[in-house]
């Protein structure tokens, strides 16, 4: 119990350290440059208190419940005793032996992204200003599918030892082509969703998976191969969100043309 309280307090302190400079800058500019008092001060103070309390509870909870279990699982799933690699006599790895790792990576990427608070914030905002034509839930689903695919492919890359930049270059070429054809409204949001996924929940678990994998496979360097997963998790949501808008655009266009042809 005492350990829990000290942990809570130390996380509270570091969350407050995170917030203090932001508050300082906002208060300085509001009072010294804009020279107007805050409106609804009471609400703002309550809200800030909620944000700090919420972040602290969230981080302590992750540390207690999810991270120990998640990282232990990542280590067990990547451990040779679980994988039981087919020994072909040489030092090469057979990428097919690691299928559970890809499936776990995909599931983990999907589920952690859905729980990511900063993605939730962006999705809420997007639904508000699009007047509901972009649904927060669908947007988060699209991002999660992107991360899920990204992590699965990223773990495959670590196992197979292919070059990181090849995947990244091909990924960005796809993004460029999609950018040319996607509805203009979605582009900013799609690019942003790449950045918001690499946040509180996803990064620690995915990093543990990458490190576990690259330290058990012969010939992989945890320093060089472990990090690439985050780059994958940032790239594929852009593709999936652009695809989401292209598909929904296509469907609504077709429905419209069907309606107008029926009307004639």
């Amino acid at each position: 119990m005492i350990a829990l309280i000290t942990e809570f307090l130390s996380v509270l302190l570091s969350t407050m350290l995170d917030v203090v400079p932001i508050l300082g800058i906002i208060i300085f500019f509001q009072l010294a440059i804009i020279r107007r008092p805050f409106s609804q001060t009471r609400n703002l103070i309550i809200g800030m208190f909620y944000v700090i309390l919420g972040m602290t509870l969230f981080l302590v909870g992750l540390d207690k419940a999810l991270f120990p279990l998640g990282t232990a699982m990542a280590e067990q799933l990547t451990h040779p005793s679980f994988i039981q690699p087919t020994d072909s006599g040489t030092n090469t790895v057979n990428w097919k032996d690691y299928y559970w790792v890809y499936i776990f990576g995909a599931c983990l990427g999907f589920a952690t992204t859905l729980a990511e608070p900063s993605l939730l914030a962006v999705a809420i905002k997007a639904e508000q200003i699009s007047g509901g034509s972009i649904k927060a839930w669908y947007l988060r689903l699209a991002v999660s599918i992107g991360v899920s695919f990204g992590i699965a492919l990223g773990t495959f890359r670590i196992v197979s030892g292919a070059e990181l930049y090849l995947f990244i270059i091909v990924g960005y070429v796809i993004v460029m082509v999609q950018t040319m054809f996607a509805p203009k409204l979605i582009i900013g949001l799609a690019y942003d969703s790449g950045g918001v996924t690499s946040s509180t929940v996803t990064v620690p678990l995915v990093t543990a998976l990458g490190l576990g994998l690259s330290s058990t496979i012969p010939g992989r360097d945890p320093l060089l191969d472990g990090f690439g997963l985050i780059a994958f998790a940032c790239l594929f949501p852009i593709i999936s969100v652009l695809a989401y808008s292209q598909i929904s655009n296509f469907i609504s266009n077709r429905a419209q043309s069907n309606n107008s042809s029926e009307g004639e």
Binding site: L44, D63, L108, K125, S199
Partner: protein, 244 residues
């Protein structure tokens, strides 16, 4: 009062719904694939309660404080019409939120240790401290520059892809020339800068600014700040590694 409670409870259920998949995944893999018992059930239950409550409070606080603050500031700056102060604010916000970021401090000191072991810098406390310091200021400056450029883009109405696509081409080219030891840190630093408190604030700033300025659409112009802020640290950190 009843209304507030009602909203809180609705949000609470929303949080449970959001967190359900992650627990299902962990549970299924632990019990059916790895065939292991769930350890530390007590910690797991307490932790889960904390996570659900935490997410609920965070979302409530978000709509009460971070969103309105970001948008009000954006409106006030647009009304004041001072581009200079707006850009100073943009840089300060990016720099200030990043320099104190605990995740960045952790990554920077870890990176310094790796660099010392790898012989990139001298293995003295002084050199390690200088490296940590340099890396933190590099990343914070890069995020400051990112928000600066992003805000300028919203005001001028530049299309986002014109900034992002060349940026990523730059990243790819630099990856080929940067020392291997810095690449991982560079890619990671793009992720650590967009913290859970910065993202809502910066999003609200962008959306508020683009709805306050005539001729800008919050949907096309309002988003994109986060995208730029996750890109510039990669470029700046690789440059930092190449210059050292």
């Amino acid at each position: 009062m009843f209304n507030i409670k009602n909203k809180f409870i609705r949000q609470l259920f929303g949080s449970i719904y959001d967190l359900l998949p992650i627990f299902v995944v962990i549970f299924i893999f632990q019990v059916f694939i790895l065939k292991q018992p769930i350890p530390n059930l007590n910690d797991l239950i307490i932790g889960t309660l904390f996570i659900i409550l935490g997410l609920t409070f965070f979302i409530q606080g978000l709509e009460k404080s971070l969103f309105p603050v970001g948008e009000t500031l954006a409106y006030s700056f647009a009304k004041k019409g001072s581009l200079f102060w707006l850009l100073v604010f943009a840089f300060a916000l990016g720099f200030g939120t990043t320099i104190a970021e605990p995740a960045l401090i952790a990554v920077a000191s870890e990176a310094a240790k790796i660099a010392a072991e790898g012989g990139v810098i001298d293995q003295t406390d002084q050199a390690i401290e200088n490296y940590t310091f340099g890396l933190r200021y590099t990343v914070a400056t890069s995020v400051g520059v990112a928000i600066f450029i992003g805000v300028l883009r919203i005001i001028r109405g530049w299309p986002l892809p014109y900034l992002i696509i060349p940026g990523y081409l730059g990243v790819v080219v630099m990856t080929m020339f940067a020392p291997d030891s810095i690449i991982g840190i560079a890619y990671d630093s793009g992720g650590v800068t967009t913290s859970t408190i910065t993202v809502p604030l910066v999003t609200a700033l962008g959306v508020g600014l683009s709805s306050a300025i005539a001729g800008r659409n919050p949907m096309t112009d309002g988003f994109g700040l986060i995208a730029i802020a996750s890109l510039t640290p990669i470029i700046f950190v690789m440059a930092f590694g190449m210059l050292l």
